[in-house]
């Protein structure tokens, strides 16, 4: 029966090719626009380490100005930490892993024959690699003893290793970072979490840093953060020592807590430290220390921007118009073909069969629409990608990273085609089934 109905549908398409094409295009446009916006939305709202969502927590403490909260979200503590608070919290043994870090600009020279070049460098404690499950191509990260005093060891990203050493296994080679000798101990494999959840102070979708060295080098070499540094207290900061002792926030801190109990213990440890510091005259704002899991962190930091939400809404409104349009066209078409339906009814087709036959016709339209829609969406996303890549002068990062049509797009196209069939086809198919056959037979 299905085959027969499909053949009937194709026959019907051939009867009004123009009208059929119009309907397919309308459905395709609607689906294409939805798939495009949903693909970007999905990429933007992803949680790149969802399997650790109940283990990884960003640590934040509200050390801000008693008179004005930090920036636009008054309920949230500042997203970064002061040096002294991170050091006090690092002393705790409650977390299974703990990381304090920031990023800076470095210059790598003396690596083979490569020219001196700028490398975005992360200064971090040792747990970074295991905590964020960073894959290694060669070698490994350093272990905790290399953190203090800091050993001259460096981990390179795969891209950086390609640039400096032509992709060879560079473990054991030496290079100069800001004119200090470092030994390569590891090379990362491809790793590009989107969004860059562990540090949202630069571009949310920018690639990870090119090099990693132990955190304490930052103090020894007096290196400032190249992303956000914020201060509120009027303090005389003349030197790096003053800066480190100040209430300026510039460090990111994460902890890995294996279960709810350790989380509670960590929270009370932080709050205890807060109370003690408050007695000493710091933390003038109300108690607001947070352990935030990655999902909530991405929401708090508003990684999905409003523009994208508006676009998804717009896309669905557009799809609705396309589908309503298709309902109208289908109705006209089915009623035009009422004479044929009348004959089929007279020959014994039940209302149910007429209904199913017409619904299958709409289904075939939707499938064609979805296929064309996917193709249009791929084209559209490629155009958006091109727009962004051109503006980035070919560098990676930014929204160009969100424009890859993947299984999400296909799943959405299938769902939307199904929805289109039901939304656009139900009423016309039902309506044509209700037509009294006698009228059409009589007038013939």
């Amino acid at each position: 029966m299905l085959g027969y109905y499909t053949r009937l549908a194709l026959k019907s398409f051939r009867r009004n090719p123009g009208l059929t094409a119009l309907m397919v295009i309308a459905i395709a446009l609607g689906i294409a626009v939805c798939v495009m916006t949903l693909t970007v939305y999905h990429a933007m709202s992803g949680n790149p380490i969802w399997w650790k969502n109940d283990r990884l927590y960003a640590v934040t403490m509200d050390n801000w100005d008693p008179n004005t909260p930090y920036r636009a979200q008054p309920k949230l503590p500042p997203p970064e930490m002061t040096y002294k608070d991170t050091q006090s919290l690092l002393a705790s043994n409650i977390p299974e892993r703990k990381v304090v870090m920031y990023s800076t600009d470095g210059v790598i020279s003396g690596a083979g024959s490569a020219a001196a070049q700028r490398v975005g460098t992360r200064l971090t404690t040792a747990d970074f690699f295991s905590m964020f499950e960073v894959p290694f191509l060669y070698g490994n990260g350093w272990s905790a003893p290399a953190d203090s005093p800091p050993q001259p060891v460096i981990v390179l990203s795969r891209e950086e290793n390609d640039k400096l050493f032509g992709g060879a296994n560079s473990v054991g080679r030496t290079l100069r970072w800001n004119d200090h000798e470092f030994r390569v101990i590891g090379v990362l494999d491809d790793w590009f979490p989107r969004p860059r959840y562990y540090d949202l102070n630069g571009g949310n979708f920018d690639p990870p840093d090119g090099a990693y060295i132990p955190f304490r080098w930052g103090l020894d070499l007096e290196l400032l953060n190249n992303e956000d540094t914020d201060c509120w207290r009027p303090e005389k900061i003349d030197s790096f020592k003053d800066f480190v002792a100040s209430d300026c926030i510039w460090l990111q801190m994460w902890v890995e807590l294996p279960d709810a109990a350790t989380r509670v213990r960590m929270q009370s440890f932080i709050d205890g430290y807060w109370a003690q510091q408050r007695n000493a005259g710091r933390f003038p704002r109300p108690l607001n220390n947070r352990l935030t899991n990655v999902g909530q962190w991405l929401r708090d930091r508003e990684v999905v921007d409003n523009d994208n939400r508006v676009l998804v809404g717009l896309a669905f409104a557009f799809l609705a118009v396309c589908l309503i349009n298709t309902v109208g066209l289908l109705l006209a078409k089915f009623l035009n073909g009422a004479a044929i339906t009348g004959v089929r009814r007279a020959l014994g087709a039940s209302r149910r069969q007429i209904f199913i036959q017409h619904l299958i016709e709409v289904g075939a339209l939707s499938v064609l629409g979805a296929l064309l829609g996917l193709a249009l969406a791929a084209l559209g996303l490629a155009a958006v990608h091109h727009l962004y890549a051109a503006a980035h002068l070919g560098h990676r990062g930014g929204y160009q990273e969100l424009t890859h049509l993947d299984y999400v797009g296909v799943v959405w196209a299938v769902l939307l085609a199904l929805a289109a069939t039901l939304a656009a086809g139900l009423y016309p198919a039902w309506r044509v089934g209700r037509l009294p056959p006698a009228v059409y037979l009589k007038s013939q």
Binding site: V33, E222, D238, D305, V321, L393
Partner: protein, 406 residues
């Protein structure tokens, strides 16, 4: 008028499905059209805000000293002498952050010592050629003199302020409303004072997407190098930018072994990047709105065609009993007008509701009613236009059709 609306309305009500569908389309289309257009126009307005900067003829050099031998001040002097000596270069200045790039520094300033500090203001550390390099207009007071440029902040006096500053007119208006800022004093967070000696207008700072992107001040100081990189802004004569960029990159890349050149890029790169999201939004919204109008147009056209084709006999009868072609055309246009109008009525409510919801949810400004009026007129015109051809076809039905059996 040989036709009144009553019979058209009753005919419509007898066969409402198609009409309701088209009205729904028009309603949604109006809501989307008006709000999308409004958002696009806001973006366009934002992108068109004057920067005050000769963006097209400026390029940026980013460099960093990375060895212990690197000496900031002599290196800056040498680089500036080279850049300013190049034929085709109008002016060059070192500075601490690239205007329009989304990266920069700010600090609080107040007009009385110890006053409550609420806003941070975007500042640039520059030398006496900054105004010429940016191409920005001095509207009051004077420029910095060469001997007023103070040495860079170092790791032992990083909290030092400067004795004089130049402010943008917008910042002057913020700090000293309705007064001349010249000669007035401002205070930093440590109550160190500086005197305002000049006002420029307009000048956009580091963050073009900020509401107050034009609250900017210039500090006469060589940029400090302990933040990592040191940037130069170079303004060239029209048409010479790209050639000079290549020459500069080749020379500076080799002139000092203790320093690397990160990149040499046109300022347009940073401006385009800062506005990229707005531009993408604009293009996307405009495309979808265009498609939406096209689809709606098709919907109206298809319904009118369908109505005409199913009423051929009725039209013939009316022609036979004396209706003129004009009357037939008018009938269909009025019918279409009724449908479109009811759609527009619902659409207005929908548009206002959506606009209100968007303004609440996403902190967008409330919908401007002019856009609604424009949207209504546009959709009405489009509706009539789309029904025009089918109505003409209806008028062409000969009266003799009435006498034929189908």
């Amino acid at each position: 008028m040989s036709l009144n609306v009553r019979p058209i309305l009753s005919a419509l009500l007898r066969n409402r499905t198609g009409a309701v569908l088209v009205a729904m389309q028009i309603a949604i289309a109006l809501a989307v059209l008006v709000n999308a257009l409004y958002i696009v126009m806001q973006r366009v307005e934002k992108i068109r805000r004057p920067t005050g900067i000769d963006v097209a003829n400026i390029f940026v050099v980013s460099s960093a000293g990375f060895t212990d031998h690197y000496q900031a001040v002599p290196s800056i002097r040498e680089d500036l002498a080279y850049l300013r000596g190049l034929p085709g270069v109008i002016a060059a200045t070192p500075l601490n952050a690239v205007p329009l790039s989304g990266g920069g520094s700010s600090f609080p300033l107040v007009t009385r010592p110890d006053a409550q500090r609420t806003d941070n203001f975007n500042y640039f550390e520059v030398d006496e050629q900054a105004l010429d390099t940016l191409g920005v207009r001095l509207v009051a007071g004077r420029n910095f003199r060469h001997d007023e440029i103070t040495p860079p902040l170092t790791k032992t006096d990083a909290a030092r302020f400067a004795p004089e500053i130049i402010v943008s007119r917008a910042l002057a208006e913020r700090l000293f409303p309705h007064q001349s800022p010249l000669g007035k004093r401002v205070y930093d967070s440590l109550n160190q004072a500086a005197t305002v000696i000049g006002v420029v207008d307009p000048l956009m700072g580091s963050w073009p997407y900020n509401e107050h992107a034009d609250w900017v001040l210039l500090v006469p100081r060589l940029p400090s190098t302990f933040l990592g990189s040191l940037d130069y802004l170079v303004r060239t004569r029209p048409g010479q930018r790209d050639a000079l960029m290549r020459i500069v990159e080749a020379h500076l890349g080799k002139s000092n072994p203790d320093r690397v050149i990160h990149w040499v890029r046109p300022l347009t790169y940073f401006k385009d990047l800062s506005y990229l999201g707005d531009r993408a939004m604009e293009i996307f919204l405009a495309t979808v709105t265009g498609l939406l109008i096209a689809v709606t147009c098709l919907g109206v056209f298809a319904l009118a065609t369908f109505n005409v084709s199913t009423r051929t006999k009725q039209i013939g009868t009316r022609r036979a009993v004396g209706a003129r072609r004009r009357d037939i055309v008018r009938y269909f246009l009025i019918e279409n007008g009724l449908i479109t109008s009811s759609g527009i009525l619902v659409g207005c409510a929908l548009a206002l509701g959506t606009g209100y919801w968007l303004s609440l949810q996403y902190a967008l400004p409330r919908l401007d009613l002019y856009y609604l009026v424009a949207g209504v007129l546009l959709l009405w015109a489009i509706g009539q236009l789309a029904a025009w051809q089918p109505a003409r076809r209806a008028a062409a039905v000969p009266p003799s059709v009435a006498t034929r059996t189908v």
